[in-house]
Symmetry: C2
Subunit: 230 residues, 2 copies
DNA sequence: GTCTATAACCGGATAGAC
DNA sequence: GTCTATCCGGTTATAGAC
């Protein structure tokens, strides 16, 4: 079952061409920014016809969707090995978030566009949209893995929602990073240090049996907000 | 000192033309949405040349900036009288937020675009950008007024940051509303009810002398995040 | 199923005359 | 302040080749 934006690159060659176009585009985005890179220029640089670019990517925005996938893969590649050495939840979260930011680093100036389109509820690039389902799931799964293989014990009800909540939190960090103009994004790293500490403490507090009623209420609210429609 | 996007409409006639274009645009946005309304169509409907529209609004997006101003004015007009009858902080926040949503109501389907552009750090429409300074200040001032004329007592350090924090909170509510597809946006109103209650309780907790150290830490974090640059 | 080449459409934005 | 003409780039359409 292919997503509508992934026009079934069935053949070997098709796969290659698709990758070629995407790589070319991402490189150009990094170097000159998104707006300054025209579809014509991407096609020319990749030495394909412009129609071909549109054959693989329904629109310029879909190149961004593909970028999400790419980033997630790269992040996993560095993150999973690093996680092997960390068993505390705090350490695991720190590693994950820091590596996420460093993976995104080369694209900082281009990242504004990401969230720009991502914030439109009708855009397929909205991380909550159906089109983003696969990446989002994969990303949430990572947080599930982080909890699962850590030493923490959390109550079942919280355990279920926690990966999603941590994913939301991580989106917040990225949003901050996008706006962060400090040198080497030190403020983002500082924010990570501070908030990871808070988050872990909060989880521990919420796991206390005494906090059960409050936790139930809070989780009901969360569940309600996640619902779609009516 | 005029903002760069407000090309000094000094003359009577200029003021009129500007208003005409803006009104026409907003009406068309409401009826057919932002993307489906072309600058050409706006100009035609308003019976001005397209170049003239660009004389008053540097880009199509700047019409949105003007929309912010307009909404804020309308909100104030209904909100201030209603606030006269409410002295409790909780009641005042409820009134303010509910009226904000109802003021925005006619523009719900067009609102996606707002946050779309608003999320781009380089966009002048970003509510944190210098161009948005006047509206943002005015909006934060409203929250200052809400606290000031209410019965609550909050410690000085918190008092200073509170208007900004409440403004942020209100932005979060709007973001939720934009994504809210429920009938008559009931979920947003429910969210307001629940969270206003939480917020007020939290303020009261944070005002407790025992909470002083924690409050100091939290406020330092907030202050740090607000800083610009380096 | 992939891919090319080319022309055309559409709408945001700009230039320069008046 | 206002207009017309033009540019530019995303996107589509066409028609055909491997």
């Amino acid at each position: 079952m292919d997503a509508p934006n992934q026009p079934s690159t069935k053949t070997q060659k098709g796969e290659q061409t698709r990758a070629l176009i995407l790589n070319t585009a991402l490189e150009m985005f990094r170097e000159r920014g998104y707006e300054n890179t025209t579809m014509r220029a991407i096609a020319e640089q990749a030495r394909v016809a412009i129609g071909n670019a549109y054959y693989y990517f329904a629109s310029k925005e879909y190149l961004i969707q593909a970028f999400y996938d790419r980033i997630h893969e790269e992040h996993l590649a560095v993150c999973l090995p690093a996680l092997e050495k960390e068993r505390s939840l705090k350490g695991r979260l720190l590693v994950t978030l820091r590596l996420k930011i460093s993976t995104l680093e080369p694209y900082h100036q281009f990242a504004g566009v990401l969230f720009k389109t991502a914030a439109d509820p009708r855009s397929p690039l909205n991380p909550f949209s159906p089109d983003s389902d696969p990446v989002r799931r994969a990303s949430i799964d990572l947080f599930d893995h982080i909890i699962e293989r850590s030493k923490v014990r959390v109550p079942k009800d919280l355990r279920v929602e926690l990966p999603y909540l941590l994913w939301l939190y991580h989106m917040g960090i990225i949003l901050f990073w996008i706006h962060d103009a400090s040198l080497e994004h030190r403020r983002t790293y500082r924010l990570i240090d501070i908030t990871v500490d808070l988050v872990v403490k909060l989880i521990s507090l919420a796991s206390n049996p005494l906090a059960r009623p409050l936790r139930k209420t809070a989780l009901r609210l969360v569940a309600e907000l996640r619902e779609e429609g009516s």
